[in-house]
């Protein structure tokens, strides 16, 4: 049982399924991918989570290659090509030498969709609590249902995993240790605005991606429609800095979205503040705070033999999608070894 259909959960499930295990993935969202997310707005894909994928691990790159090989996505190698601004990227390693960067014309969610294609995935189901049911672990679901499993993988943002761990009883040494460890770590929030403009605006945007320096509000401006073939409209994605996002996390989008568009106007031109439409997204747990990553996934063995494991972006060095993918893969290998 894997909770969380983001890249780490999907890769973990995929590797376990390939090794012959019966795996079910469960997620609260309507689609797979977690923060590797794409929305369709007026028929056009918009990446409102991460803007592109990057990595250097051969296994991860092979998985990216497989997306195109199976006809599941059209890779845009080297995207973003035009990068402006001297602000810091969310992932400092993204532009390191030897790092490969790629986006997909269909949206970055082409990657998780590809990972999920042979998996059993149950969507729109939230796990509300964990418990011990005899020798197995029980998952309480928001629809009142209950599933039990010998092995449960939590492939969730750190805070959500921590919340679920808190529903288990204390007194198991490894579990207490892991809980204490997670209490020292955290993730960063990111408020996001997607905005549409007339198509001719797109030709005048001089960048694919911009990391503004000196803006308290803006972390990143992505020229999203630059990733689309013959886009019907110009779409920009604005992502806010962690502290700015944290201050407004509980506020209504109507309070912060105009403010973020205004900040972009100061940077890119007044046109940004008058979009044809805009949508918002609140990424409560957007990414790992650099320095919060752990070395590897975690497996807690319960006295009866049940196992609870954790994977995700926080459970591999470096953070980002690559770390999420590798933590899922490493966890699957470890679980398989211990199964056998």
């Amino acid at each position: 049982m894997v909770v969380g259909a983001g890249v780490s959960g999907l890769e973990c499930a995929r590797a376990l399924a390939r090794a012959g295990h019966d795996v079910l993935v469960i997620d609260k969202a309507r689609g797979v991918g977690g923060r590797c997310a794409t929305r369709r707005i007026e028929g056009q894909p918009v990446d409102h989570g991460l803007a592109f994928l990057h990595g250097s691990d051969p296994g991860f790159l092979a998985a990216l290659d497989a997306v195109a090989a199976d006809g599941a996505g059209t890779p845009l190698e080297g995207w973003p090509a035009a990068v402006q601004g001297s602000g810091s990227p969310c992932q400092p390693d993204a532009f390191a030498p030897g790092e490969r960067r790629v986006a997909f014309a269909e949206g970055v969610s082409a990657f998780p969709k590809h990972l999920a294609r042979e998996l059993r995935v149950r969507l729109q189901t939230r796990v509300t609590a964990l418990g011990l049911a005899g020798l197995r672990l029980a998952l309480e679901l928001d629809d009142g249902g209950r599933i039990d499993a010998e092995t449960v993988v939590l492939a969730l943002p750190l805070e959500q995993a921590r919340e679920l761990l808190a529903t288990l009883p204390a007194g198991i040494a490894d579990l207490d240790g892991v809980r204490a460890l997670l209490s020292m770590l955290g993730t960063l929030p990111c408020l996001t605005v997607m905005a549409g403009y007339p198509p001719e605006i797109g030709a005048a945007v001089p960048f694919d991606l911009c990391y503004p320096a000196g803006s308290r509000a803006l972390q990143l401006v992505a020229h999203d429609s630059a990733k689309r073939a013959a886009p019907a409209q110009c779409v920009m994605v604005y992502q806010a800095r962690p502290a700015w996002s944290r201050e407004r996390l509980e506020a209504e989008p109507s309070q912060w979205a105009p403010e973020l568009l205004e900040a972009a106007a100061g940077l890119c031109g007044t046109w940004t503040a008058q979009p044809l439409w805009h949508q918002t997204h609140r990424w409560r747990f957007a990414r790992v705070d650099r320095g919060s990553e752990l070395a590897g996934p975690v497996v807690v063995q319960f006295p009866g033999g049940a196992r609870l494991a954790l994977a995700g972006e926080s459970f591999a060095p470096g953070g980002g999608v690559e770390a999420a993918f590798l933590s899922g893969r490493r966890l699957a290998a470890r679980l398989h070894e211990e199964f056998a």
Binding site: D174, G177, V178, A180, L181, L294, A295, G296, V298, V299
Partner: protein, 249 residues
């Protein structure tokens, strides 16, 4: 400049364009990039700085005497530990181990201490501090420690092997209590002509090793009640202790 350092300078010149296939699966390659005299309180040494093609870690070798083409050169591989080596922390035995190695080699005609700049265990100092924080709360669980740190032994040994090779040594005697380290280096083509146990002189801070037994995870509990992790990947032996850690009861 001593004649030993002058000899090492030749190796720096030799390595100027050095580029090889590299050691291990990650094709690690190092170059000698600087050598100088290093008089220490433990004796006369030379220090050799290495560049490597994988990360920005600046590993060094502390060399005693002319080791080129020598056989059975005593060699100790030490992993950097800021808290122990520099700050004198009593949560580990790194400083005792480093000092014992330098002192011993300082009394010999030849020898090498490789000082590997990968902070203790794991991703680095940040996670070491977190591991200590868990210990302070009485939690020293295997899983939490695994998540906090991995020793990338593969990389450690590949770099160490290349460094030894670059120094032109014919064969070494490894100063360690962990026979696995011998095998690891041999895998990378280093001729290890024997192992010498690395025994620490007793002092007020490590007496507990003689008085207590290892706990469940193989750690000794010190006088302050803190478990000592095997930060050097080498179990500690204080004079008077048997060759092996006593089995847990």
């Amino acid at each position: 400049m001593t004649s030993v350092t002058a000899g090492l300078q030749h190796l720096v010149e030799r390595d100027r364009d050095h580029e090889c296939e590299g050691y291990g699966p990650n094709h690690l390659c190092v170059r000698l990039v600087g050598a100088a005299d290093l008089p220490t309180r433990f004796g006369e040494f030379s220090i050799v700085a290495f560049w490597n093609n994988r990360d920005a870690k600046e590993h060094v070798a502390i060399v005693r005497g002319d080791v080129r083409d020598r056989e059975q050169v005593p060699c100790r591989v030490h992993s950097e530990c800021l808290t122990g080596d520099a700050l004198g922390s009593l949560r580990c035995d790194c400083r005792d181990q480093l000092e014992a190695a330098l002192r011993r080699i300082g009394e010999l005609p030849q020898g090498i201490v490789l000082y590997m700049r990968q902070e203790g265990r794991g991703i680095g100092l940040i996670n070491k501090v977190r591991a200590y924080a868990l210990q302070d709360r009485g939690l020293d669980t295997v899983e939490a420690n695994l998540a906090l740190g991995f020793r990338d032994d593969e990389r450690d040994y590949a770099i160490a092997a290349h460094m030894i090779h670059s120094l032109g040594v014919k064969s070494i005697r490894l100063m360690t209590n962990n026979p696995q380290k011998v095998e690891q280096l041999q895998q990378y083509g280093i001729e290890v002509d024997g192992r010498d146990p690395h025994i620490l002189p007793p002092n007020p801070h490590n007496l507990f090793y003689l008085q207590t037994k290892a706990n469940r995870s193989g750690h000794f509990i010190d006088f302050a009640g803190k478990p000592h992790l095997a930060e050097q990947g080498d179990w500690v032996r204080v004079e008077g202790m048997p060759e092996r850690i006593p089995e847990e009861e």
